[in-house]
Symmetry: C2
Subunit: 371 residues, 2 copies
C-alpha cells in the first residue's frame, strides 16, 4: 500500500533519503574541519530523526526549550543543549531533568546566573551567548564586564560548569553577504577563546546558522557547529543558496478541493495552520507561500513549470497554477508543497509521514500542558 493512500488531509511528508543525505553531508563537513556537529533539533523535533543522526556520528543535540529537552531526555544523547537564554521560572524543571541527563544552557545576564548558582541541585553546563550583531539576544562581544560577572557568579556554584561561547547568526538568513557574517563570527569566537582559554582550558566555541554552515568551507578554528534547518532545508534556504530545491526533505501533501480554470487557480486544503505564514516575494511582487511538487509512489518531483501558493488563510491555500499543472490536476487529487520555512511547517504539523507510509513522531505531537 502506497503512503499516498494514507492521506486524506494536509500531511507532512518526509523523504528519509534526502534527510539522511543532509545529515551526512553536514557531518562530513564538520569532520573535515575537525569540528563537532551538534545539530539544532528545533527543526525536526523528532526522536526518529535523532536515530538517523546518530548513524552519522552525532552525539549531542541542541533544542530551543526545556519542553523540547524533556522530549529528548533519556534518548541516549551525551548532552542536550537548550539554546535559549535560560528562563528562570524553569529551574525546578531543569533540576528534574538534569538528574538523569547531561544538560547545558545559555546565560546572558547575572540575574539568572545568580538564581541558578543558588538553586541548582545537579551539574549543568552553560554557554555564554554572544550577540552575533543582530541584537536579538546575547552579551555584546566586547562586554567583558558582563562576561566576567557571569563567570565570577558561576564559580560560586559547584553545579554551574562553564563550557564556552555560543553565537547564532540568525541574521545570515536575510543577509546579502553570508561570508562577511561568517568572518565576524570566527573573529569574535577566536578572540574570546584566546582571552579566556588560559583560565578555562576546556572552553569550546560554537556557531550555529544553516546558511554559514552550508555555504562556508573554512570555519577558522571554531570547535563546534550547531545548524538546525539543514536537516530539512526549505525554499528560503534554497533562495539564499544554502541548498538546492532537490535537498528539501519535507513536503506538505494537500488535497485539491476546487479548480478555477479561468483564474488558473487551484484551491487546496492547506493553509496557515499547516504551512505557517512564512512567505517569499517573487520578482514580480507576488507572494509565494510554498511551491508545488508532483507526488508519486516514490516521493516527489519538481515540475519544469513553477506553480506556487499565492495566498493562504487559516485552512485554505490558493495555488496560481502553470498551464502544465492545470492540465494534470483534478479535484480530489493530492499535490505536494515545498515549504518556505520548514521549521515552522514541522511545528504546525506535529508529525511526519514517511514514504513507506509510517508515521514519524514530532515533539509537539506529545501534548504536555505546562513545562
Amino acid at each position: 500500500m502506497s503512503y499516498l493512500q494514507h492521506i486524506t488531509s494536509p500531511t507532512l511528508l518526509i523523504d528519509e533519503k534526502i534527510c539522511r543525505a543532509n545529515l551526512h553531508r553536514m557531518a562530513q563537513k564538520a569532520a573535515r574541519n575537525g569540528m563537532e556537529l551538534i545539530p539544532h533539533f528545533k527543526t525536526g523535533q523528532s526522536k526518529a530523526i535523532g536515530a538517523w543522526a546518530k548513524e552519522y556520528g552525532i552525539k549531542e543535540i541542541t533544542v530551543s526549550s526545556i519542553k523540547m529537552a524533556a522530549y529528548f531526555c533519556g534518548n541516549g544523547w551525551e548532552t542536550i543543549h537548550i539554546a535559549f537564554p535560560f528562563n528562570p521560572l524553569q529551574i525546578r524543571k531543569l533540576n528534574e531533568l538534569s538528574q538523569n541527563q547531561k544538560i547545558s544552557i545559555q546565560l546572558v545576564n547575572s540575574e539568572v546566573t545568580q538564581l541558578l548558582a543558588k538553586k541548582l541541585s545537579s551539574t549543568v553546563g552553560f554557554f555564554i551567548e554572544i550577540d552575533a550583531g543582530y541584537g536579538r539576544t546575547g552579551v555584546a562581544v566586547s562586554d567583558f564586564g558582563k562576561i566576567e560577572e557571569i563567570l565570577r557568579i558561576s564559580q560560586t556554584s559547584e553545579h554551574l560548569q562553564f563550557r564556552g561561547f555560543y553565537i547564532h547568526a540568525g541574521h545570515s538568513y536575510y543577509a546579502k553577504d553570508v561570508a562577511a557574517i561568517h568572518e565576524q563570527n570566527i573573529a569574535a569566537l577566536n578572540m574570546l577563546k584566546d582571552k579566556y582559554s588560559t583560565e578555562f582550558p576546556n572552553l569550546v566555541t560554537r556557531t550555529g546558522d544553516t546558511p554559514t554552515c552550508s555555504m562556508m568551507e573554512d570555519f577558522g578554528g571554531i570547535d563546534q557547529m550547531g545548524p538546525g534547518n539543514f536537516v530539512f532545508y526549505d525554499l528560503t534556504q534554497a533562495g539564499i543558496g544554502s541548498c538546492t530545491k532537490a535537498d528539501i526533505a519535507v513536503a506538505l501533501a494537500v488535497p485539491v478541493v476546487d479548480i478555477n480554470p479561468e483564474k488558473r487557480t487551484i484551491l487546496i486544503h492547506g493553509g496557515r495552520v499547516h504551512l505557517a505564514k512564512d512567505v517569499l516575494i517573487e520578482p514580480n511582487g507576488e507572494k509565494n507561500f510554498g511551491e508545488v511538487v508532483m507526488l508519486s509512489e516514490n516521493g516527489w518531483d519538481i515540475p519544469e513549470s513553477r506553480s506556487f501558493v499565492k495566498s493562504i488563510s487559516q485552512e485554505h491555500g490558493i495555488i496560481q497554477a502553470s498551464e502544465e499543472l492545470l492540465q494534470k490536476t483534478h479535484v480530489g487529487d493530492l499535490l505536494g508543497i515545498l515549504p518556505v520555512h520548514s521549521c515552522m511547517t514541522a511545528d504546525c504539523m506535529k508529525a511526519y509521514l514517511s514514504l513507506n507510509g509510517e508515521w514519524i513522531d514530532h515533539a509537539e505531537g506529545l501534548v504536555t500542558f505546562n513545562l
Copy 2:
C-alpha cells in the same frame, strides 16, 4: 493559589468574563435582528467555551475542518457546520461522523457534489458557498449555471439536503469600508434567496465575518450570522474598530528572560510558535507582534504607556518597552501580550489557563494523526 503560580512558560490566559460578555453581546445583536447566531469555533476550538456559548442560546456551531468537527461531535450541538469547500478525500470520515451527529458542509463545484451524491450513507446538509468578492473560494454570485448544477446533482441523492447560501467576507479584515462590504453581502444573499426560495422554501442565508457582525446593526433580512473571532477578539479587530482592547479575552503570559536598559528592550520567552507571525504596522513603520498588558491576580490591565513586541523568532520575542514598563519589570517576571490574531495564537497554544488556574481544552490539544 493564584493562576500566576501555574506559569513557568508561555501560557495562553483566558478571561472567562470577557469571553462570556463577547458571546452575550453578539447573541443579543443576533436576537435583535431575528437572526440565529452560529459562531465559528475555529477561534476558540474548545468544548469548554462551547458550554459557555450554550448559556446564551447558541445551538449550532461552525468549524473549519472535519477534524475539528470530530472534536465537537456528541457534545450536544444540533448541527455542526464545516465551513470549508468539502474535501472529497474525507467522505468516509463524513459518513462516520454523520451517523450520530447532524453535519452540514459547503459545496462549490459539481465534481464534489457528484461524489457525495454517490457515496454519502447518511443525510448531510449543505450550503452553497458564494464568493464574497475577494476570490478566495465559492461560486460567483451571478454564476446561476453552477449553482443550479450543484442543486440538480444534489437532488439525485436522498442524503444531500440543501440548506442555503453562505458568504464569508474575509476581506472585511483589510477593508476601509466594512459597511460597503456588508451591503454587498446583504444584496447578494437576498437576491439568491428571492430567486430560489420558491423551489426551496426552507433555505436560509448566512454571513460570517467578525467586523461586519460587530460593527453593523442592520442585517437586512439575512437569517443567520456566523462570526468567529469575536469570541476572543484581538488587536487586529481593535484596529478595525470591531472591539476595544478591553474586549480582548485572551493574553499570552510570557516569562521575562533578559532586559537591556540601554536599548530599552525586554527579551521574553514567547515567539512565533506561541503568538504566530501576525503583525500590525505602527504609524512610524515599526512592527507590532502583540501589545504588553500587566498581569495581576485578577487578570490583566492595559497600561497607560504602550509597549509592544517589535520582533519575534521561533521562541524569542523582543519588547520595545516604555519607560514605565522598564521601571516595573525584572528578569523572572511574567508579562501579558495581547495577540494580533487570536485565532492563530490559540491554534499555536492548544490550551488555555483560566484566571482560576484551571486548564481549558482546545481541539488541537488532542492529537490525532490523520482525519
